[in-house]
Amino acid sequence: MNREYKEAVVELLYQLADDDLLVSYRGSEWLGLVPHIEEDVAYSSITQNTMGHAAIYYGILEELGEGKVDDLAQLRPANERKNAIILEEKNGQGHWLYEEPRYDWAFTVVRNYFYEAIKKKKIDSLKQSTYEPLVQTAIKIDTEARYHLMHWQTWFEQLIRAGGEAEERMKAAIEKVWKDIGGVLSLGPNEEKIVSAGIIESEAVLKERFLADMKEKFAELGLEFPGEPGMERGDGRAGVHTEDLEEAIATLSEVYALDPAVPW
């Protein structure tokens, strides 16, 4: 593996790993607080699966000499993270613990639905990757990703079809998430290197496939299509992030950072 190829692989792996880590971190905050008990249980499995996917990607990075899995997941500062900004955003107002958390289920359903829809496109593309460990990973996580998509799509459709307050909340959430969903599609400043090395297909191709599905779904549900996906707050792949990420990293690494050198 020449240096340039390896750099491209590493770049994409960080994007995939950090995306899954942050979205699953936000999922872990919901545990115990989901609107319906049975759904709390189901959502937690999705969160675990997703964090499991992150662990696989970090594991490949460790094999490539990037450092220990837990160091990669927990100790990298915010400006080195490659996740999309929309995935680091807090679940709603208030702190996750005992400071009046008001988590927004509409935002959660919409963010997860769009995220999983894009993730599935990436997985399908990775099955043709020139980098064999990514091919194997894509094949391995495919059925879980399918389940996640089916799950969130069901919630998405039903809350829209419910009409009334639910539909209004969902529309507001769609508007909010759409403004930054481009960050999930982004392959970052090094896209050219990643794509020319045949590691994954281009952002344009992935976006077209994602939008085709969304247009169909929006039409089916009688929703106005919101147009070009935005990236208003910047590109997380380029290290642009918000305070929410810093807070998330501080929380998730609080215990590990006490002594990263010893077993826990």
Partner: protein, 116 residues
């Protein structure tokens, strides 16, 4: 439209372990409808076991027995004729002509077909 029905409907979850195993009752859950029930079912009751299919059934659609009706289920223990119990003596007869018993093990082993 608009008439309020309870959010919580009871669904019974069934799962099939392999394509040739029977569908087995797991437990009940509350969900607003079949679709939501289905996307929650596996993770609620089969997080640690393999399944190849899941059914969700509205509990109100199941006609179960009443306590009185359940009392009809016991049978008199005199129905060996429905089983192989009464035919054990055949072993001896077949042995005389060097033939084995066509018991369950033997007959089910025929599923392999003719092995050349």
């Amino acid at each position: 439209m608009g008439e309020k029905v309870p959010f919580y409907e009871e669904f019974v979850v069934f799962s099939r372990k392999t394509p040739v195993s029977p569908c087995q009752e797991q437990f009940t859950l509350l969900a607003p409808n079949h679709e939501i029930a289905l996307v929650m079912a596996q993770e609620n009751f089969m997080r640690r076991e393999k399944v190849c299919d899941i059914w969700v059934v509205k509990r109100s659609d199941i006609r179960a027995m009443t306590p009185e009706e359940r009392k009809t289920l016991e049978r008199v223990d005199n129905k060996d004729y429905r089983t192989t119990k009464g035919y054990g003596y055949l072993v001896r007869i077949w042995r005389e002509i060097d033939q084995g018993m066509l018991d369950e093990k033997e007959i089910l082993s025929w599923s392999k077909g003719r092995v050349k």
